[in-house]
Each structure stands twice: as C-alpha cells, then as structure tokens.
Symmetry: C2
Subunit: 666 residues, 2 copies
C-alpha cells in the first residue's frame, strides 16, 4: 500500500469527531455496518472483474460483452450470498446500496430491471397461481425479464399507448401487435439483447371492446438460442449519455400470440370465452407502481456520496495559487468558494440518506394500509412520492455536476468517474416520470388539499398547511432551525394559496379550467417544489435529531451543523419568498448569510472526515481523484496509459490521412 | 424529400415575421448570409464524411482514426475555399461558425488548436524573422502544432509551472526537462497523437538564473515517421466527457534539446552567450492571451443555437397528454412549463449572438490601442473578458442542459446530439480559466474601480458604477427595459460596495487582507456576476435596438419581445437584490412575473420561426430530434438500427455468460 498523501493525513488528524461512530450512525447500527462491510467485501474482492481496459475505450459490441461478463459475476455473487443467508435478493435496499452500488460495472447493468421491476410486477399483479408458476424460476434468474411500457410516441400519458393485445377465444390466446411505428416499445432496460421475457403493457381488446391498458408476460427470445421469437422485432435503442450497459431496448410485435394465462390477472381477468371481469380497484396496482419512485429517491444518495467523496478528497490534495506571494499554493479546499460548493453537497448527502429512509418507511406504512383496503392516504402518498422523486433526483444531479465542475478539468475526465455518476443520475430526472410532470401532479393534490383546509382533517405531510395559515403561527422571524422550517411552511402555504387564487381569477374571467391550470403551471411547479422543501427540511430535522440523541457530543455537534447548513442554505435560496411572505428583516437576511458563511468555516476541518464516514471503498469509487490515499496524479497518469491509443501506438491514421494532408495532397 | 411533419408545417404558417429577414439580420446583411451559405454548402455537401456508423459506437482507436479521416477533409476544404478567396483561415469567426460549426465531426477535431492557438502564438510572440521562418508552413498545414502550458499539477497559477528550459551556451540550445510527475504537460489539444510540434511554456533558466515562464517551439514527433522524438514522452490523456476527437495530450521531457532560435523572442531574448534581455512589456503578451477567452464566448452561440433548434422543433412535434379527456394530446410546446424552458433559451441565443459580436469588436479596439502602446484600458479589458467568458459559457451550459432535459428521455440519446453539445460546452466552463477564478479576477478590478470612483475617470464598461451611485439615479422603480437595466446597475454597484465594506470591516478587525478577501469570496463572485449581467443587458439592449431600427415592423416587434423576455427573466432572477437595493414594490414584482408569463404566450407562436432563422442545416445539427422536417420517430428508429449491436447480432455473450448464469452454472 502506498503512503497516503500528506495533506489528507493532516485533514484526518484534524477531524474533530469519530469517523467510525459517524459511519455506524449513518448505517443505522454496528451490526448493519458489519453486514454491509461483509457484502462490500464479497462484491469488491473478486479479481475476475477487472480486465485492464476501462470499458469506455471499447466499441459497442465489446462494451456489451464486457458488461454481461461482469453482470453475471455480480448476480452470481448475490445468489451466493443469498444461499449463505447474508442477504436476500428481495431486500432491494441492500441490492441498490451494497450490491449494485459496489458493483464494478462502470455504467449500470442490463440485469437489474429483472429484479427491480419484472419480478415485483408479477408479485403485485399476478394471481397466486401465476406467482407460483413464474416466481421460482424468476427469483432464481433462470430467465431474465424486462418491463416494457413506454412507447416511441407515448410516455407519461399511459392511456395513449398504442400496442394492442386482442383476445382470440378460438385459440384462447392474446394477439400482441404494434400497429404503428410510434407504438414500438422503447427504453425497457435489458430488453435490447439481454432479456428473454418481458412484461408488456398493452391496450386490451376482447369481444370487440377496449378495456384499457393491462400487463402481459411475453416471451421475447428463445431460451436456448436467444434468437428473437417469430413476429418479434427487438434491439438496442442506441447510444446514450450514460447507463450504456443497461441495454435499453425497443420492441415491436407482428401479431404475436401468447397464452391467455400470460395476462397478469390479479386485478382483472379475461375468461376463456373472452368475458372481461374486473375484480379489484385499479388503485391497488397504483400504489405498487409508486414503489419505483421511492426506490429511485433512495438510490440517489449512493451516487451523491461517491461524487462528493471524490470531489472533497481531491480538493484536499489539489493545491493552487499561493495566497501570499512566494507562499505555498493553497489546498483548494481552503478557498471559501470551494467550501461553498462542497459542504452543502456533503450536507445534502447526509440529508438524503436520512430522509430517504424515512420516506421508504412512510411508503411501507401507507402501502400496507392500502393493501388492507384502507385507501384514504393514497392520494397523499402519490403527491409525496412524486415531489420527493423530482426534487431528490434533480438536486442530486445538480450537486454531482457541481462536484464535477469543482474538480476543474479533471472532473471532465472519465477516469474521475464523475461524468458517469452524472450520467446515471440525470437519467433519473426523466425516467419513471419527468420531474416537471411529477411536480404538477403534487401541485394538483396540494390545491385539492387547500380547498379542503377547513372541511377535512389533513393527512400528516400536508397538515402544516392548516397550522401555518392560522394566526400567530410565525409572529416574528427567527434565525434558527425551527424558525426556518416554520418560515418555509408559511412560504409553501402562501404559494399554494396564491396558485389557487390565480387559477380562480382566470376561471372567473372566463378562461376554461384546463387552460387556467396551464397558464398557472410555472407557479404551480414552484409551489409543489416548496412543499417538497418543507417535507425534506422536516424529515431531515427529525431524523438528524434522532441520530444526534444517540451520538457522542462531538459527533452530534457536527451533525447539528450539517443540519443547520442545509436549512440555512435553503432559507437563502428561498429569500425572495421569505421576504414576501414572512416578516424577515433586511438585518435578518444578512444574519442568515453570515450564519451560512460561518458554518462553512466551522465545518471545513471536518470535510474529509465527513466523506470518509460514507465508507466507500476505492473499488466502488472507481475514481482517479477520489481514492483514500489521495495519489491523484499517479492515478491520472496510470489511467491514461490504459488507453488503447497509448498502449498500442498505431501510425496508420498518420500515414493514411495526416501526412498526405501535411504534404498538401488532400 | 419526405413530407414535413404537419405540426411543424402549421407552426411555420402561423409565424408572424419573415424568417429570411431575421436570418439576414442575424448574419449581419444579405451578403454575409450568402457567403455563409456558400461555405455551409461546401462543408456539408461532401459525401465522404459519412461512414454509416456513428462515431460513438466505435472503440478508442477506430474513433481516433475516424476523427482524423474527417478532420483532414474539413481542413482540406478550408484550404480549398481559401485558395478560391471564399474565406481566410485567419478569419476565426468563419472558422468557428461555418467551418467547424458545420463540421461533420461528432465531437471536435484535434487539428483546430493548431490554427486557434499555435499559429496565433507565433504571430504574437515571435520576432519577424521567426514569423517568416515558421508561419508559411504553419498556415499551410505542413505540420500541426499544439500549445502546451497546463501541467498535471499546475493550472491557473502559471508561475507555478515546473517544466524547465535551461540554456546551454556551449551548444546554443535550450534543454527542456520535466523534473517531476506533476510537471508533465496535460490537456494540450491535438498533442496526443496528431501534432508533431508544440509551443511549450516553461521556466527559463540561463546563467544560473530563473527568468519566469517563456514559450518555446518544440518538435515532438518525426515529420516522416510520426514517432515521438528522443526524450519525449507523449500520449493521449484518456477518456473524457466530451470532445473525444480533440486528442488532448500529455507530454514529458527527458533533457530534450532545441535550438536557441526556438524560443519565441519578440518580447524577451536569450542571446548566444546566455544573456537575458527583456525588450517589451509583458502586458503586450497578456492582451493576446485574452483573445482565446473572447473566441470562446463568441463560439458558445454556435452550440446554443443548435441545442435550442433541436429542442424547439422536437417540442412542436412531440404530443403528450390531452388537456381535456378524449381530446387530442397536446404539442408539448403548448405547455407553459415547456415555454418557460425554451423561450428564454431562444432569447439567450439571440442575446449571445449580438453581445459576442460587440464583445469581439471591443476587444479588437482595445487590443489595437494596446499594440500601439496605449495600455490604460487593458485592466478593464481583462475584467470584461474574464466575466463574459465565465457567464456566457456557464449560461450556455445551463441552457443546453435545460434543452436536453426538456426533450425528456430522447435528450438522453446520443442521436439527439444534445449530450455532445453539453459535453463540448461544459468543457468551456473550465478551460482557459475556471469560471469561479475568472469571476474573482473581475471582482478584483471592480473593487479597485470602486476605490477610484471619485478620483479617476472610469472606463466605459464600468462607468455606470459612478452614475448609479449618484443620487436620483433610480428615484422610482420602473417596469421597462430601461428600468430593469438601471435596476441591475444599482444592484451591481451596491453589491460591489458591500464587498468593499465587508473586506474593510474584516481588515479593520485584524484579519490579514488575503484572508479577508477569501472570506468574502462568495460575495465577490456574486458581485462580479451581477456586473457581467449589467454588461450583457446593456450590450443586448444596444445591439437589439440597432437591429430593430433596420428591421420591418413585424420582425422588429419580435426582436423587441425577445429583448424584453431576456431582461424580465434576469430581473426575476435578481429579485432578492432588487428588493434589497431598489424600491421595487411587491406589486412591482408581481407585475414583472405577469409580464414574463405574458411574453411567453406572445412569443409562443414564433418559437419555431425563431429557431428556423438560425438557419442550421440538418447535417450540421446531427440530430434525430431537430431536423427541419420533424420526422423524429423515423430517425430515432433509423439511428438505433445503426448500432453494431443491432446490425450484426452476436449471440456469443449469451452463450458464454448469460446462459450458464440462467442455468445456475455461474
């Protein structure tokens, strides 16, 4: 092992809290830390992973083969640990954080969707018989499924899907068909060349009648030869900004027949004679559909902690420009502008870790109620899941990009891993619901809630709308964590109220409601976002204080500062609204700004300790800039040598093109 | 030719102004439009460009060969047009806009730096004899040069460079040497495997004395064999987020000898006996060094217009979600939230086109004064160039990313060309000076100016600081273009004043000046940015009004709206400061918001016309989403077919890895 960079050594000596204690708090207990470390070890210690040539130098076919080679190693290890009782593939939190999170695949895997969507869809939408038929082989990975809903011409608006599944009572089969170019399925992960099954969402027709979209299990490729089955047109959608190894596919059907039993029939059935029977509320499917958005929000912190670990360690190692002439060049982490970029990102990572766990638990709680037929919190859950998915993915993308830019030119190098992390996260701003669309859905719920303020008991996450609108709620602005949260509550409440008024004004003046809604939509998105900020602030406040209660004084103090930094930052970002809707004074805003800058200075000495506490192995970071020992320049030069352009110099482009050009022959 | 998408046809019919008139205004006159189109035609009509497989599917070596193949075609065509008198390679504006802009290279070219930096450096730093010796072959492309300044461990702080050039009077040679790993040159464009010469910036030592950094012409590779010359360690820096074809290189020297005459000696000489003679002010070099930052700011609009053309046309074609149940799905361009994303980007593109021309002319004017020994506007020029480079690159990157996200999932596909555009532009936020560092340099000038407010005549671009601080400058807030500009001037003035006060307060309390500066740097960056916003607003206001004066009423009206949209948008972005520093009322802020939304609705019908007026050929856009005929879905499916994964199905990854995994053998 090489010596650790001197500056990093000093950073670690000056850290004021116990890093191991923080890691354990972060993981949720010593046992969990030990379990996670065991799984991490298994995942990173397999030597077969590393082939010597970084994937990004490979051509499309080689890249695909390499990603499959690695994917089966990963999922093989998961299967092995499962047999040993060390994890369950059903524990999606492990799956994301430790298994995929520590995975050596540079840019995703085409097999994940099988476990994240294909299997859960059968669980939630299949009958007991269907589950008994499909799940054992599916869990065991004896085939790989994908989930195909979105079409080339149809995304958010699911009712507009064009793929048809027409029941033929003579053969007791469904006929799947793609009537147009725009009806081709597009995007389904793993569908390109990996999956041999897919759940396909299609418009059901039986007895000449349309019954809306339903889900069907469709074999895509021959299990022995992997050739596409007759009538199936399938392939990769082509190059993407990131997640290249996910092998997203397109899929078209030319009158493809599947047995009647391949329709997932838990909530609706087509009988042998073609009779359509609906047996349960569609809302039940709905709750399980929301699950992916909870998973996505939960997953973001895995990328964010990597990015900020990389940027913070690099900023401790990199030196640039002396402050005094002839003095030594400064660690760039000592520049306030750099602290401004990184510390809020560290605070955000701690926030997202805490809130996403609370969010997941809230989902579990409400989902259980729903499964038991108690549907009243479902609209609240929907609104919550939509806005948290939107804000968490969007903030994570911005934070990662800020980390990347904070590393200067080296953040532009693929070997830093920052471009790939951004590529993976920015995708999440779009998939499973475009963020703007999701915020508008939350806004719709908020406006409905606003109209029921006095007539209904409000569900927990929006109950503040009532209290914040009562007199004397915030008589005087207060620069404290609690004061800021109350201030944000007032802002959210007033913005929702303003939206309601704006729409009403337009409707009163004769504008149709739909148009009034559209004309107010910029404002609506902003209101929904502020509501989300209130939820994040509240969850973080509650979660952090719980952690602080169980922490030593020194560690608790640091957590408290992170919480404050996060809240002050968002108060400053909301200053226009605070000035408009609360009685914060000019003096108050100046104190907020001073508080923020003071927190940067206070937290600065712990920056490296705070990212060390994320406990991410070098083999999980995949970064020349972020490794624990800080040997940045050695690694950059070492990685450059791995480029095939450097390893196997080839003078043919010179002789074929450059030389004739230089000699004026071209 | 295929039929144009119906929605796009209707958009074009409903456009209220003459698109061709706008194009001519945008280009600066009919003759210029005709010349540009001639060059565009030459550049895009060469069939040899297109090989059938998009570059992003290739492995590193194939990608490099393909980029060189295309580069020599491009530069060959430029040489041809030059001979015909249709352009001059010295006309860098053509070079960027029409030649590289229309180039078929997907991601840059490794030969551009030769013309953009190597040749200009010889012009500005070489003696007349040196110019006579080197320039004819260089202009003619008989060799390809690079420019190597930045080192692995050294960027912004040029005095910290470690590469040495030690004069040996015995042989009358300089000995170039890289004493450490961190002294290796890094980033130089084209240096990897393309250039055979480089200008190398190194610490000059002669007669045992150091004389700071100077520039040397160094042969890197044998002109016949292209092998690296003895003592030279050279190669590609490795994979990057974008600009892959630029072939950025690293370079190390092991006591490499070059003739004395290879030092560029216009401003300082080393005589045969090793005597060092300085013959002119270093500031002269400095002015020419600023040129690249002007070029970069000018170049941004070429990327921005492409991105917004793509996103706007796509938003007219894409339909999603009916407003009324059972109604048709809406063009997404009809959603206010989409207009909010795109129209400000269109306005920004018009703004940047106009201001970057004014900026270039201002540079030319001051640079000529400097060349004639009149140095007094040099600090102003420096401050101006720094903040405009920072703001224009950063705004462009954000606008392009907004366009990309506004295209939903398809913006994530490489075939949209949006990821590559973002990759090219985000690089510009870092190279030739990190944006945060540049804004701090501007802040330094602004603070100096502030201290001289009463004692000196202020140079033009900061003269407003004096007028805006005089009483009665903005007695009452006014919601008009002029009012907004005056408001922004007040804000910039007050922020600079606040920075001066904050630093003074800290110094008075005993904090050393350098530390006080650092502790105020977040505030300083913000002040410099606001100053830049004032310059942008003023330039755009003046430039647009000049265009409007020469335009028809209908075209002028649209330009006026674009100007207003841009100003109102930035007023809204600056609302915290306007509330703090001007007497804008709550009512006034609400009117601003209403004005903004009204402008979106007014400009909406002209969105497609406004991007059509950029007159960018399909072969320059390289986008499945943005082509003139709007056949988005056909192109997406067509591009997917070009993936080698789809073209040549390969079942070996299945048989080697997937099948054994599915059978439980792995």
């Amino acid at each position: 092992m090489h010596e650790v960079n001197k500056d990093l050594q000093r950073e670690r000596q000056n850290c004021t809290f116990d890093v191991e204690e923080m890691t354990v708090l972060y993981d949720g207990g010593k046992e969990k830390t030990a379990e996670r470390r065991y799984r991490d070890n298994v995942m990173v210690s397999t030597k077969d992973y590393y082939s010597g040539v970084p994937e990004y130098y490979l051509g499309a076919k080689e890249k695909y083969e390499e990603s499959i080679r690695k994917s089966v190693i990963i999922f093989g290890l998961v299967r092995k640990m499962q047999r040993e009782g060390r994890t369950k593939i059903t524990d999606i939190r492990h799956f994301l954080q430790c298994l995929l999170g520590s995975a050596p695949t540079y840019d995703g895997t085409s097999m994940a969707l099988h476990y994240l969507m294909f299997v859960p869809a059968i669980v939630s939408q299949g009958t007991e018989e269907q589950q008994a038929h499909w799940l054992p082989r599916a869990w065991n990975g004896n085939f790989i499924g994908s989930f195909a809903q979105t079409e080339l011409g149809h995304g958010t608006f699911i009712r507009g899907l064009e793929t048809t599944a027409t029941y033929d009572p003579d053969t007791q089969e469904f006929v799947l068909h793609s009537p147009t170019l725009t009806s081709h399925k597009w995007w389904a992960g793993g569908l390109g060349h990996t999956a041999n099954y897919a759940i396909v969402v299609a418009q059901l027709y039986t007895k000449g009648q349309s019954h809306g979209v339903h889900a069907f299990i469709v074999p895509i490729r021959d299990e022995q030869t992997h050739q596409p089955l007759p009538g199936i047109r399938v392939g990769d959608v082509g190059g993407k900004l990131g997640l290249e190894a996910v092998n997203n596919g397109f899929l078209g059907f030319d009158h493809v027949r599947i047995p009647r039993n391949n329709m997932l029939m838990k909530h609706a059935q087509v009988l042998k004679d073609g009779t359509y029977v609906k047996t349960s509320d569609g809302k039940l499917i709905y709750a399980t559909m929301l699950f992916m958005r909870v998973v996505i929000a939960y997953d973001m912190v895995n990328y964010l902690t990597k990015a900020v670990t990389i940027a913070t360690r690099y900023s401790a190692v990199r030196r640039q420009t002396p402050v005094r002439k002839d003095g030594p060049e400064l660690q760039i982490l000592d520049y306030l502008t750099q602290q401004h970029k990184l510390l809020i990102t560290i605070a955000t990572a701690y926030c997202f870790k805490i809130i996403s766990t609370i969010h997941w638990d809230t989902y579990d709680e409400i989902n259980e109620q729903v499964a038991n037929g108690k549907l009243d919190r479902l609209p609240e859950l929907h609104a919550l899941v939509c806005c948290l998915k939107a804000i968490v993915t969007s903030d994570t993308a911005q934070c990662i990009e800020r980390c990347r830019l904070a590393c200067g030119g080296y953040g532009y190098m693929l070997s830093s891993n920052l471009p790939a992390l951004y590529g993976q996260v920015t995708a999440a701003c779009i998939y499973e619901g475009d963020n703007t669309v999701l915020l508008l859905q939350t806004a719709r719920f908020l406006l409905k809630t606003w109209q029921r303020l006095d007539s209904h008991t409000l569900p927990p996450t929006v109950a503040y709308l009532k209290t914040a609108s009562s007199e004397g709620f915030l008589p005087k602005w207060e620069n404290s964590a609690e004061g800021i949260i109350r201030g944000l509550q007032v802002v959210a409440m007033r913005k929702i109220s303003a939206c309601a008024a704006a729409i009403e004004k337009r409707v009163t003046s004769g504008v149709p409601l739909e148009q009034a809604w559209n004309l107010s939509s910029v404002q609506l998105v902003a209101a929904a976002e502020t509501h989300g900020r209130v939820v994040l602030a509240t969850y973080f406040y509650e979660g952090a204080n719980k952690m602080i209660a169980g922490a030593s004084a020194s560690t608790g103090a640091v957590l408290r500062r992170l919480l404050e930094l996060y809240l002050v930052y968002w108060a400053l970002q909301s200053l226009v609204d605070l000035l408009k809707y609360t009685n914060i004074s000019e003096r108050g805003t100046e104190e907020l700004q001073a508080w923020y800058e003071e927190l940067l200075v206070i937290l600065r000495p712990n920056a490296v300790g705070l990212v060390d506490a994320f406990d991410i192995r070098d083999k999980m970071l995949h970064s020349t800039l972020g490794s624990y020992d800080g040997r940045v320049y050695e690694r950059l030069m070492g990685e450059a040598q791995k480029s095939p352009l450097n390893k196997e110099p080839d003078y043919s482009p010179f002789h074929k093109y450059l030389k004739p050009y230089m000699q004026g022959k071209l």
